[in-house]
Structures are given as structure tokens and as C-alpha cells.
């Protein structure tokens, strides 16, 4: 589910913080240091800025709510994560938030926590084959639609476009593509002339775009399901990128943001890792207060363009 790393999101976290402090106000007094009051956050890796942001958001929310947050880092090793989750089932753990290294490998650990009556919240990636109290993850479908809107706006709502798809069969590619297809359908004067995979890879996108431009020389827009492919497409377009042909990516990577500043990339769709962490902790607090929670909490993604890029590059 994660194909990017990106920088602090000041503006949006402020909004989120308002929500969190709103709920946190009532929790602070009611939740003491009783047994089962600790929240364990099991992160897949902290060797990636995306998850560091996620942890920071979670920590901020925990501080605001006055709950103890115990963060463990699996360093991208499923076995380590299994041990960490086993350790979490003893002691004063109230809720476990898990960001799985692998959605399948983590299932037996989560099942054990289910047996021990410890609620588990998934964040960023889901858990297969075990019960989650809730899943907090980026809304890739909505992101795809936002990408369609951003591209349509840049193209003056007319023209023909190419879609560069991610690795076939991945949820990220499926959901982003689905959202984009829905979004672009709202613009009758825009036609998708080709849809081809470039495997989320910059070099592959360079080749595939070069080929597609031969078959479709009149293309005026390209949507790539991640920034890496968008950058490959820009390479293939040369001087035409940002001028005759508008390109929209997905992820908000630092290279992607730099391309927006350079004018070659029109927009990218950025995830909000800090908000993911924050909402997960907020849900954990709700569970410990016996409040109702939603089974799925989609976190909005944001279209970054030249207009709001300052908030993403500090």
C-alpha cells in the first residue's frame, strides 16, 4: 500500500489536530493508569520517512489524549513483528495498533491477540485472516478521482490521455485506477486512449510512454499511478512535459514534489501518514472508552499542485 515517502504536512495536520484534541478532551480525565490502558503501536519499519511521519502523528495524538504509547519497530521483518505482537499480549496492553510488515504473515499473531481479547487496529495495510477492530488506511480510490480532477483541470477538460498502471494485481494499482476511471468519466471531452502497465517503475514508464506516444501522438495528458512512473513519462516527453502534455502522479515523493516545482508535473496525490497515525490512536482511545468505532476509516489523500506545494516542502 505504500509507495512513497513524503514530508511534513503542516496545514492538514492542524485540522486533524483540532479533531483529535476535541475527542481527547473528554478522554484525558476518564482514562487513568489502570490495567489495559497502554496502546502498543507495532510499526513495520522506521527506516522510511513515511512510517516515521506515521509514528510522529500517533505519538502526538497519544500525548494529546494522555495515553501511554509503546512503539515497537519490526524493521520490516515479519518474524520480529510476530515476537513483538506476542510480547504485546502480556502486560497492560489495552489496544494494539499494527502496521503489518506483511498482511498475511501477521494474521496468526493478530488471531492470538483476538483470543486474548485485545482489540487490534490495522493502519496503512490490512490484516488478512484475522479480526480487526478497525482499519485506518489511505483512500486510494478517492485519490484516483482527485487525480482525474486535477488532470482534467490542467487540460482544460478536453483532450486525450494515457494511463500508466502500476504492478498488475496490486491493491494500490487497482484502487487508484478505479478511482481515476470514475473521476475521468465525468469529463465527456476527455478520452482515455491507452492504458498500459509500467510496473510502478521509472525506467519502464520511460519505455512504455515512448512507445505509446508513437501510437498516440496527439496525447495531451498522462496519469501515472505513482510518481516514479510520472517521472519516467516526463523523461519520455522531454520539453513537452508540462507544456503540451500535462502529467499527474500519485504519492507525493520528494522527486515528485520537485517536478511540480519545476513545472513538469501538474499534480501528485499525497498520502497523509501523520494523519494515519493520529486517527489510529484516536480510535484506540475510543475503544478503551467503550465507544463505537467504524470498521474502516479511509484517510483522505490530498492533491498537491503548485498552489499548495509550500505546505509539503519545508
Amino acid at each position: 500500500m505504500k509507495f512513497s515517502s513524503f514530508r511534513r504536512i503542516a496545514v492538514l495536520t492542524t485540522t486533524a489536530a483540532l479533531i483529535v484534541t476535541g475527542t481527547a478532551g473528554c478522554n484525558r480525565s476518564s482514562d487513568g493508569a489502570a490495567a489495559g490502558s497502554e496502546v502498543v503501536l507495532a510499526v513495520s519499519t522506521l527506516n522510511n520517512p513515511f512510517f516515521v511521519e506515521l509514528r510522529d502523528g500517533a505519538q502526538a495524538a497519544a500525548d494529546a489524549a494522555g495515553v501511554e504509547l509503546n512503539i515497537v519497530d519490526a524493521q520490516n521483518d515479519s518474524a520480529t513483528q510476530a515476537n513483538q505482537l506476542a510480547n504485546a499480549s502480556v502486560g497492560s496492553t489495552g489496544v494494539v495498533i499494527v502496521n503489518p510488515v506483511d498482511s498475511d504473515a501477521v494474521s496468526s499473531s493478530v488471531a492470538d491477540l483476538n483470543t486474548a481479547d485485545i482489540p487490534v487496529i490495522g493502519v496503512d495495510r490490512t490484516v488478512n485472516g484475522a479480526d480487526l477492530a478497525s482499519l485506518v488506511s489511505s483512500d486510494n480510490v478517492a485519490g484516483g478521482t482527485q487525480a482525474a480532477d486535477a488532470l482534467a483541470a490542467a487540460m482544460g477538460e478536453q483532450g486525450s490521455i494515457i494511463v500508466l498502471q502500476g504492478v498488475s494485481g496490486t491493491s494500490a494499482s487497482r484502487e487508484r485506477g478505479e478511482g481515476f476511471a470514475t473521476g475521468i468519466a465525468a469529463y465527456p471531452n476527455i478520452e482515455v486512449v491507452a492504458k498500459q502497465t509500467a510496473n510502478f517503475d521509472r525506467a519502464a514508464a520511460l519505455d512504455v510512454t515512448s512507445n505509446l506516444l508513437q501510437a498516440n501522438p496527439g496525447v495531451t495528458g498522462i496519469f501515472a499511478e505513482n510518481d516514479e512512473m510520472a517521472l519516467g513519462a516526463i523523461q519520455a516527453l522531454g520539453d513537452r512535459a508540462g507544456a503540451e502534455v500535462k502529467v499527474v502522479g500519485f504519492d507525493g515523493t520528494s522527486d515528485g514534489l520537485a517536478a511540480i516545482e519545476a513545472g513538469t508535473l501538474v499534480a501528485t496525490i499525497a498520502q497523509q501518514p501523520a494523519l494515519l497515525g493520529q486517527l489510529a490512536v484516536e480510535l484506540a482511545v475510543k475503544i478503551m472508552n467503550d465507544e463505537e468505532i467504524d470498521a474502516v476509516v479511509p484517510v483522505e489523500v490530498v492533491a498537491v499542485t503548485l498552489d499548495n506545494i509550500a505546505a509539503f516542502t519545508e
Binding site: Q196, T197, R202, A203, Q214, A215, Q235, S254
Partner: protein
């Protein structure tokens, strides 16, 4: 014994390779039978010319040349290894490592661009030498030695880059540009093909590769320094992989941590489609070029025809099986 080596090689090893090297007059039947892959490529191209008007345009043919360059250059190195009876699974990772080392020396160590480019080549050469040492003296099967290198080189690439792309030196980026109307990747492709072909056909080491691959024990008994030849073969594969990696980085203006992942399979496929035998002792650079072109032309054609992603993998697999299958049948019928 040692002094006789070239003669031994000539009589013993050339049988399959140089069968058609001195034709009195052009024999069409023999030519076709020796160039099954080329026939396949021509058939593929004719089919695409009929299927889409966009295929046979100057720019598209240039695109195909550019796109074939990375895999072909990498595959030249793999051709040496396969002829010598080994396999090299590490070339994709080594290509990425070489480009990353070059990028690191340029950006972080502040080396001049030319030196950074050389550093990349040396990195590839070293990785190849290690493969060769592990295979020849460590007695590891080359499959395992290079599988280990596949992992180590990719890991080092990630360590050096911290998982992020690094900018490349202008000298490396030049490799992705063009001189006048001619794209540099195509120039590199032609030059490396000539060098590889020269090594294979005109040098003692090249001829020795056939001997080692044909029968390593016989080669050793006839006085060839088999271990040293194996190290040289893998070193060359590493060097060619480095050139391919720098070429790819040049085209992207950056060294990517995940660059060339999986390219080793394309390279091996190109060599085998080109008529080399995985059992060793047989193979040609011209065949490898044709093999690489077949892979690239299929992908190019599937893009032009806008075939859906799911079916592309099926088609590519079938064409590879078909190309090699026809070749095997052809050899069988010829040997009857």
C-alpha cells in the same frame, strides 16, 4: 600442451559456432536454419507492420533500439557466462549497484564526472570478479554464487542510496542523450556488440570460453587455465552489466535504487532466444542482439496495440517459449 591450445580449440570447439563461417556461396536454407531467432524477429516485425501503422516509423525504430540497448549490453556479458557453461543471475543488481556507486561518488564524494563514471565501471567489474572467484575457486555453483550477489548488490545499492534516487554525473547522463540525430544508447549498443563479438571470436580468452563451456574437464586437461578463464568471464559480465546500469541511469538522469530489477531474466532470455545453449559451449553475440530485439519488439508492439497488462505477460511468455521451442525443434531435425 599449452602451446597447442589454439589448434585444439579450433578443431574441437568451433563445430557449432563457425559452421557457416566460410560459406562458398550463400546457402539460404543453411542461413535460415542457423538463424531461427532472426527469422522469428522478422516474422514478428512483419506482423506488427500489418497490425499497426505506428510500428514502422523512424522514431519508433529508434525507440526500439534505445530500449533494447540496456538489456542487450547486459546480455552480452551473460552470453560469455552462458557460453562458458555458467549462469549469472546478478547482472540486474550489479547494474543498479554500478550506477549507484557512480552517482554516490559524483554527488556525495564530489568526484569529477568522468572519474565517477569510471568508479561505476570498476564497481561492476569487482562484483563480477567476486562472482568469478566464488564460482571458480570457491566451487560454488554459479547459480548460487550469483544469486547471492543478486541479493548483496541490491542490498548495497539500497544502503548507499538510502532507498532514494541519486543524480548522475553529466558524463553518465550523456549516455542517455543523443549525438545529432543518433541516440547514444544505440551507439553504445553497437560499440559494445563489436567489442563483445571481437572478444568471443578473435581472442584466446573468447575461444577458451567455448572450450570451458563445452567440456570443462577436457579444457583443463588440454592445459587451459579454467579457473582464470571463469573469473575473467564473470568479470566481463560484471563490466557489461555496469555499462548497462550506467546507460539506464543516463536515460533516467538518476541512479534508481530499484533500477534493472528483474533484468537478469530478460538478459538470460535474450541469450537463450538468440540460440545459446544453457548447457554451455554454444552462443553468439549476433544471436543475443536478435534475442534482445525480440523481447523489446514484443513489448513495443503490445504497447502500440494497447494490449491489456494482464495479457501482456501471457503473450511475452508464450513468445519466449515459442522462439526457443522452434529453435530446439530445428536443431533436432537438423541432427537427424
Amino acid at each position: 600442451m599449452t602451446t597447442k591450445t589454439p589448434e585444439v580449440l579450433h578443431s574441437d570447439v568451433h563445430r557449432d559456432v563457425h559452421r557457416d563461417s566460410q560459406p562458398r556461396r550463400f546457402d539460404v536454407k543453411r542461413f535460415l536454419s542457423n538463424n531461427g531467432a532472426l527469422v522469428g524477429l522478422v516474422v514478428l516485425c512483419i506482423a506488427l507492420v500489418i497490425a499497426t501503422p505506428d510500428f514502422l516509423t523512424g522514431q519508433n525504430l529508434l525507440n526500439i533500439g534505445i530500449q533494447a540497448s540496456t538489456v542487450a549490453v547486459m546480455a552480452f556479458g551473460v552470453t560469455f557466462v552462458i557460453i562458458a557453461g555458467g549462469i549469472d543471475l546478478s547482472v540486474g543488481s550489479v547494474a543498479a549497484l554500478s550506477a549507484m556507486v557512480s552517482g554516490w561518488f559524483f554527488v556525495s564524494a564530489g568526484l569529477p564526472g568522468g572519474a565517477a563514471l569510471a568508479a561505476g565501471l570498476i564497481a561492476g567489474l569487482l562484483a563480477g570478479v567476486i562472482n568469478g572467484l566464488a564460482s571458480a575457486y570457491g566451487k560454488l555453483p554459479s547459480f548460487i554464487a550469483t544469486l547471492a550477489m543478486l541479493s548483496v548488490a541490491r542490498g548495497l545499492t539500497l544502503v548507499i542510496s538510502d532507498g532514494r534516487p541519486i543524480a548522475t554525473a553529466p558524463q553518465v547522463s550523456f549516455l542517455g542523450g543523443s549525438v545529432g540525430p543518433v541516440p547514444v544508447p544505440i551507439i553504445v549498443l553497437v560499440v559494445t556488440a563489436l567489442i563483445a563479438s571481437f572478444i568471443l571470436n578473435r581472442t584466446v580468452i573468447g575461444r577458451s570460453m567455448y572450450a570451458v563451456g563445452g567440456n570443462a574437464e577436457a579444457a583443463r586437461l588440454s592445459g587451459l587455465p579454467v579457473n582464470r578463464i571463469i573469473v575473467t568471464v564473470f568479470a566481463l559480465a560484471g563490466l557489461f552489466a555496469a555499462v548497462a546500469g550506467l546507460l539506464l541511469a543516463g536515460r533516467l538522469d538518476s541512479a534508481q535504487p530499484q533500477a534493472a530489477a528483474g533484468y537478469e531474466l530478460d538478459a538470460i532470455a535474450a541469450v537463450v532466444i538468440g540460440g545459446a545453449s544453457l548447457a554451455g559451449g554454444v552462443g553468439r553475440i549476433s544471436g543475443t542482439i536478435v534475442g534482445a530485439l525480440i523481447l523489446v519488439v514484443i513489448r513495443n508492439g503490445l504497447n502500440l496495440l494497447n494490449v491489456t497488462a494482464f495479457w501482456q505477460q501471457v503473450v511475452i511468455g508464450l513468445v519466449i517459449a515459442l522462439a526457443v521451442g522452434i529453435d530446439v525443434l530445428r536443431r533436432k531435425s537438423r541432427s537427424k
